[in-house]
Symmetry: D2
Subunit: 134 residues, 4 copies
């Protein structure tokens, strides 16, 4: 069962000359899903960062597999399927569906970036995990 | 009274290093509001173009006045406030509010672009006006 | 004569299903031209803001007239044609050409946003004008 | 040695409230690098598609590892480091550097999408490989 879902309508300008979604937009919406999740279960990205003394819950890696196309008018249901925790990073897995049809499978690896001596470093994930109740 | 309204959530990545919305995004959402309007009252942009023999309901001009800032977490209510019809173009006026607070006032001047002898020309607006019931 | 010019290549993903540039991208590039100008003649946006005690050289209004289309492969030459100074705002006029062909005419009205008592206000433009040597 | 390189300037609006590049933009520039490569060594995406009877050289997967941050003013050198060919897909590997500093490592898996009986299918890669002289 998904942890969180969010609907995203695809509009004309999101699509390229082939008439299908220009793929960086899929990443925008994946990132936006994570931020809406933080807002839904906690105080949003800025609130969470303030509580953790962090500059951002930033990206280390991301990827998407494009399983079928989406076009102008498609309503994509983005879902966070799970979060896997390591000491200093966490992997968020995503899907996006158009009804029953799988459109995307994705992953973001994020860290909790803390500024120390003018440099950004990845901090421990345990405080975030506690804050999200996971 | 507005002709059409649509809510748009602002997310972290829509904002710039000053923490406020990067302004080209406001245009994306204004354009998207027009496309959602076409979908709500008719058959969407591609359906309307097919009925009119047009390549697109394209832009001649657009503008926005930024009345107050929007940030991560703002829910903007975009509204089409009116459409003014000329023979070969039409002006769509917009506002966007955060609750009672005015964030944007905007305008798009669009034409019905028809391909003729390999060139795009603006066609008569009357058929579109009839199709939209305005 | 132009104050500043900058070339911008149009790529496939900048274009919409009609095969022409999705218009919010034109605003991205207009804004980017202003920022490159600040970098070329001064210390860039962040440097200028630091010197002026400002949070940003933000937008009050912007507009574009779309005179002819640009497509995948077009190289647009953006130009700042002039800056008109008022006490608390300044208007930057732009064009963009593909060779001799006029593609865009645009304007940005910006202010120097200063934070005071937790609110952003437009400050005097004279210090910026001096800093840019205009 | 890289197959192809292209410089991309980072501007203010490409960055998020943390002051670093909003990551979907890195994908825009990776995709744009592939399209500029097609233009440099052949007739560009639309020309190549016309020669191959394809609708697009579309994405199956993409990923990026974010090795270090880029900010307003960074000039990123995107490079195509290699292309690995399978029968019905090909993997393009990328890096992006700021001078000597590695910023990104990425991959796109693309197919040659051919429309057949109203559906898009991945065609043989051999004709593209021949066309690119690889």
């Amino acid at each position: 069962m998904s942890i969180f879902t969010r609907d995203q309508s695809v509009t004309f300008g999101d699509c390229d000359p082939a008439g299908i979604v220009y793929y960086p937009n899929y990443y925008r919406w994946m990132d936006g899903t994570f931020h809406e999740y933080l807002r839904a279960v906690s105080s949003g990205h800025s609130g969470v960062c303030a509580q953790l003394g962090a500059r951002g819950l930033g990206l280390m890696e991301s990827k998407l597999a494009f399983r079928s196309p989406a076009v102008d008018g498609t309503v994509l249901r983005y879902a966070i399927e799970g979060i896997t925790w390591a000491n200093k990073s966490f992997d968020i897995t995503y899907t996006a569906h158009d009804g029953d049809r799988l459109v995307l499978e994705g992953m973001e690896r994020r860290g909790i970036f803390i500024e120390k001596d003018g440099r950004l470093r990845a901090g421990e994930t345990a405080p975030l995990r506690a804050l999200l109740g996971l």
